[in-house]
């Protein structure tokens, strides 16, 4: 379920699937998100490993260093997970109800992979925050988050927009906009204390 597969020739031989092939496929999709161009890679050979890695990374980076060891960031970790996956599922259902011809897992795959620019933004924000708070600090983070947010939107609409009829495109893209906006907001308002 977590990945689509092209069956390698003879269906009678059930040999194990090579791991390197899957790892390379995930890497290739990351490249396609960073340099979005019209291609079918994310859609045809979908897999959900990239979104899982990105979600876990993002959730780990959004942890606050709390002095109290009992509430050590558990709810925030689960919160990020729930927002990302619940949001992606809702957008997919919305897109399907609007009559899009994209399958459930393909849509989850695209939305999940396009979180990559925002994860990079989170990384940059955490590094910038090491320099100490201040207005310049905030302006830099704001600029980075806005750029990466735009990148995510462009990448995901490049893959998703074609699956909708033209008069419904705005209706299908608007929830995507909202989804990445919420994640960008979480990244921008993150403070380590």
């Amino acid at each position: 379920m977590a990945e689509a597969e092209e069956s390698p020739g003879d269906p009678g031989t059930a040999s194990p699937r090579p791991l390197m092939r899957d790892l390379k496929a995930v890497g290739k999709k990351f490249m396609h998100v960073l340099y979005p161009r019209k291609s079918n890679t994310l859609l045809r050979d979908w897999d959900l490993w990239g979104p899982l890695i990105l979600c876990v990374t993002l959730a780990l980076m959004l942890q606050r260093d709390s002095a109290d060891s009992e509430k050590d960031g558990g709810p925030q970790f689960a919160e990020v997970f729930v927002i990302v996956w619940f949001g992606a599922v809702t957008i997919t259902l919305n897109s399907k109800l609007l009559g899009g011809n994209i399958s459930f897992f393909q849509s989850l795959c695209v939305l999940g992979y396009c979180i990559l620019p925002l994860t990079v933004a989170m990384l940059i924000c955490r590094l910038v925050l090491l320099a100490g708070p201040g207005p310049i600090n905030f302006m830099v983070r704001l600029f980075v988050v806005i750029v990466m947010f735009a990148w995510s939107i462009v990448a995901s609409t490049a893959f998703l927009a074609d699956s909708q009829p033209p008069n419904r495109r705005a209706l299908a893209v608007y929830p995507v906009f909202l989804f990445y906006f919420v994640i960008s907001w979480m990244i921008l308002t993150f403070t380590p204390q």
């Binding site: 689509a4 059930a14 979908w46 050590d72």
Partner: protein, 205 residues
């Protein structure tokens, strides 16, 4: 009588053995892929163990959660792509064709006459035991987390249910085959059990 019953047990058609004719073939009972068998059980059992012992193993909830997620992911990949094929000769995947339509494909390896391609009974038992027991455990954990209000664990537990349930569902569909209906299979199995019990009772009485 007892001898008869035990013979029936070894030739018993288990729930997941849909092909009747294979019961007459001699089944190997040695384990042909020990590494695959080990890893099939290792990831699943470790995930359950880490979940149960998280308080004692580490004081950090995050570390436990990430470990369990990692183990569940490795287990999903290993069972779907490696152990199912090696141990029982089944595989399932999703195929997107030219029109963008998605199809789910469930395949089972044909029983060939070659010695090294038949399914070993010990491996089959290990496979199905691991495949069925763990999702059931995760469902029990889900209810216990819900009712004892340990809500922060719910995300991980639901992930466990979904990933392991998906493998279970995929492999059951492979075994049953795309033509047979799952409910008719279950009814015929229950009917067989019922019949065997009644005829057994008749013989013993």
């Amino acid at each position: 009588m007892l001898q008869q019953d035990s013979n029936d047990d070894t030739e018993d058609v288990s729930l997941f053995d849909a092909e009747e004719e294979t019961t007459n073939r001699p089944r190997k009972s040695k384990i042909r892929h020990p590494v695959a068998s080990f890893f099939h059980l290792f990831f699943r059992v470790s995930a359950v163990v880490v979940y149960l012992l998280c308080e004692f193993l580490s004081s950090s909830f995050i570390a436990c959660m990430v470990t369990i997620i990692l183990l569940l992911s490795c287990d999903f990949w290993a069972v779907k792509n490696v152990t199912g094929r090696l141990m029982v000769g089944l595989r399932w995947w999703n195929h997107i064709d030219e029109d963008g339509k998605s199809h789910w494909v469930f395949e089972s390896r044909k029983e060939s006459s070659q010695e090294n391609k038949t399914v070993s009974e010990a491996e089959s038992r290990i496979f199905w035991l691991g495949l069925i027991a763990c999702p059931v455990l995760w469902v029990i954990f889900a209810f216990s987390a819900l009712f004892s209000f340990r809500i922060k664990w719910l995300a991980v537990v639901i992930m466990g249910v979904v990933l392991q349930g998906a493998n279970l569902y995929g492999y059951i569909r492979c075994k049953v085959g795309s033509r047979k209906n799952l409910t008719s299979m279950a009814t015929s199995y229950l009917g067989k059990q019922f019949l065997r019990q009644n005829t057994g009772d008749d013989q013993t009485s």
